[in-house]
Amino acid sequence: MNSLNEAVQDVQAGDLAPRVARIGLVVGVVGLLVGAGFGLTGDAHAKQHFWFAWLVAFAYVLTIGMGTLFFSMIQHLVNAHWSVTVRRLAEITMANLPAICLLGLPLLVPLLDGHGTLWKWAGGGHHGEEAAHGAEVPGGESGAAAEAVEPAAQADPLGVQLAEEEHHEFVEHKRPFLNSGFFIARLIGYFLIWALMARFFFRGSVAQDSASDAAPTLRMKKWSAPAIIVFALTLSFAAFDLLMSLDETWFSTIFGVYIFAGSFVACFAWLVVCAKFLQSRGVMKNAVTREHYHDLGKFMFAFVFFWGYIAFSQFMLIWYANIPEETHWYANRITPAWINWSWLLLIGHFLIPFPGLLSRHVKRRTGVLLFWAIYMLVMHWVDLYWIVMPNLDPQHVNFGVVDVALTLGMVGILVFLTARRASGQALLPVNDPLLPQSLGFKNA
């Protein structure tokens, strides 16, 4: 058991944690303030952009959190031992989900301002008349409707009118689901559920540290299965609500899986970054070995592929059937303005990392792996930006300070929360029954 004893020597962040927390907090606050300063002081367009950017940033930290939550649950479910050494890092991250969710609450402002600033369907509230011609809002419903029509045809007022009527019909059809009240209720529902799950698995894992038998682990294993079912449903519907309904006429059954794939990639990248950072600061030196990085790398690779698979399935099927009610979503993303961003996503999120992570040498060279981890974290953000922003304006990419500032801000907050939680906390489930194998395990 000497490997074990060595391993548990340096599993505490010590005074590192507060330092990081402090930096995180500063970055967070500054980021959010700068974002707000640039966003909220501007004109209507700037304000609207601010909220879209906020959504991107929020979705970014949220998906990382959700990824880590899923990670820790699945490890319990399949009784995996390789991952024990890094599981605590995931747990510490996911434990912040309640706080992360709070970052989502400001989104109620654009939801309830009655102009459909962020979610167009919320514009004009329940009396659909406004909704039909709520054109005063940039990119309001009618604007969106008009996009469905070819410019040439827009010359014909009847074309636009019919498009608007049809669009209005769709929105009215969805009112029972897409209305502010129910929407808020759902959001709160998701947030509570996630908070509870995170809390349960975090508490359980910590409890194990000082337990005299494996009871806590077994309890978590028992509950992981049902928890994952709830997770799948909530994540999917959260994805529909927060992101898909930005384009209220578009729908895709695979969308939830798509978001999941992205967040799981981000999760592995995040874990690599954390572990690497801690080790560089002399923490968990003996716990996380090359073998563990190799596995994290493998999973990152696997899910980069999975993401590609899901993304391709969604695109190809819509491309092939070519039904406008679906294609317009992609049409908005291959406009002259956005086409490059789409290429960036395809190449950056799949074509480059796929061969990049293919070789085992890469995965076993932790320095290189760290690069890919950071790279994938960036690409995950690109992905979310690509999902959200074209709904604001298909014809222009207004990438700017606000986007960066808000995202940095939220990440800063996430780091702050994580680091604070890490302090005075074992970064390794020191008493996990499977820890010995985990430490001793080798890749074939």
Binding site: F255, D432, P436
Partner: protein, 471 residues
């Protein structure tokens, strides 16, 4: 709080977190070899074998007769019509090809995930895969109107001096299924070689020496060869995993690329893959439970194997259920008249019974596996596995027929009902499947001997008590 921790050893010793050993009973290498090889070497197979084999061959005959009748008369002998241009043949195709996925999944994916318990059942399921894919491949072939020119789908010069249309999902299918078949075959055979060598080395008769010798390629277990062998095996596994995904995804594209409500939905690819794994594992159970009894393999295919499979069935069943739910929700959410109708019609239209058979077999019945009691009750598991097979057949029926029978224009709506030829052909395909499978059971090692040895504690130098457990 202290900077270092002392570990109360109790938790790490808590046996409850460690699953049962993969090889039950008191077995050593020799006894494992004996258990598996004795089946092949036995002068006579168990009685049950002859009975099943007899029935299977009879059904195979029926299949032959049906095909002759079909080809000589025309596709009209089936129930297919306007608008249901694809009837049972395609349903059967998807059904079989789905079953054909567990094999490679168990071999490859579980291998990549280092699931040691795969070793007990992978040979089984790989064999099953190959035979299922043979059955599957047969259906698209015989279902075309002019079977004698079906070779036009291959990109080889033909009398039309034209090339096939690579934009067609059916053509993707041709490539996907044939690739899948060949790769699975290689994978299977590669795993067989060391075991064939074992049989060769135990062989008493000259003929056996010759034939098993021939196919074991002169394998002597040299470690320098093992080294490359394992690398190649890993690579094949790594290739086969995305292949499994792709194959059934491509099958799903056959449907999902069209504009037909109930076919065109983006979740089809992962949904089909989950369904395939689901049905595949069910079929493995259907085969493994009687087989382990018939051939006394209880020590190698343990309750732990069975339990794990039950769990996977439950998990994939849930994924399938998730897909059903998403489809239904989106059908409403989309606000598309036709889409919405397609699903309401599935559940409450003329084919409501098919739909509810599907749901109850695929989503509801596996829920029973939450209880360990159920998972360890062989009879129950066996029955459940059959339910799942039925359910998955009906899933394909629901997708294919109920979507087609009421599509866009009400004027062309028509009820589809199969003919006796449809039914006998399906039965016949089971005949083909079981004939091959029975032959496999009799003449080839049903369990991967060398791989099982590999996961036995004895196989690990200075082995730690908890080594050789799954991870």
């Amino acid at each position: 709080m202290a900077d270092s921790f002392t570990v109360p050893a109790a938790a790490t010793q808590d046996e409850r977190v460690f699953p049962a050993p993969l090889v039950a009973g008191t077995n050593d290498f020799a006894s494992v070899t004996e258990t598996v090889c004795s089946i092949v070497e036995a002068p006579r197979a168990p009685k049950a074998w002859y009975v099943i084999f007899g029935i299977a061959v009879a059904l195979l005959g029926v299949l032959g007769a049906m095909i002759v009748y079909l080809v000589s008369t025309g596709v009209g002998v089936w129930g297919n019509n306007q608008p249901v241009a694809w009837g049972w043949p395609i349903v059967n195709f998807v059904f079989w090809v789905g079953i054909g996925h567990a094999g490679t999944l168990i071999s490859a994916v579980l291998f990549l995930f280092r699931q040691g318990w795969r070793t007990g059942i992978n040979r089984f399921s790989e064999a099953m895969t190959i035979f299922a894919v043979i059955c599957a491949g047969m259906f698209p072939a015989i279902h075309v109107g002019r079977i004698w020119v079906i070779w036009w789908v291959f990109p080889i010069p033909n009398q039309m001096s034209m090339w096939p249309n690579f934009r067609s999902p059916l053509l993707w299918d041709v490539f996907a299924v044939s690739t899948y078949f060949s790769v699975s075959l290689l994978f299977w055979y590669m795993g067989l070689v060391p075991d064939l060598a074992t049989i060769r080395d135990r062989a008493k008769t000259k003929a056996r020496r010759f034939w098993y010798g021939l196919f074991s390629l002169g394998w002597t277990g040299s470690n320098r060869q093992w080294h490359r062998y394992e690398r190649a095996y890993l690579i094949l596994a790594a290739l086969a995993t995305p292949l499994v995904l792709s194959v059934h995804s491509v099958v799903s594209f056959d449907f999902a690329t069209s504009q037909l409500p109930g076919w065109h939905t983006t979740i089809f690819p992962p949904y089909f893959v989950a369904g395939a794994i689901f049905s595949g594992f069910a079929m493995v159970l259907t085969l493994a439970i009687p087989a382990r009894k018939m051939f006394g393999l209880e020590d190698l295919i343990t309750m732990r194997h069975i339990e794990n499979m039950c769990k996977i069935i439950m998990a994939t069943g849930m994924m399938v259920g998730y897909a059903y739910a998403m489809e239904f929700f989106m059908a409403w959410y989309s606000g598309n008249t036709y889409e919405g109708f397609a699903f309401v019609n599935r559940a409450f239209g003329p084919y409501w019974w098919a739909y509810w058979i599907m749901v109850s077999c695929n989503v509801i019945s596996p829920q029973i596996f939450w209880s360990k009691k159920a998972r360890t009750n062989l009879t129950l598991v066996f029955i459940m596995s059959i339910f799942v097979n039925i359910g998955m057949w009906f899933e394909r029926f629901v997708i294919t027929v109920t979507s087609l029978n009421r599509d866009f224009l009400p004027s062309s709506w028509h009820y589809f009902s199969p003919t006796w030829v449809d039914v006998l052909t399906l039965l016949g395909s089971f005949g083909l499947f079981f004939t091959l499978f029975m032959l496999f059971c009799r003449w080839l090692p049903q369990v991967a001997i060398s791989e099982v040895k590999n996961v036995m504690p004895q196989a690990h130098p200075h082995h730690h008590p908890s080594e050789g457990k799954e991870g």
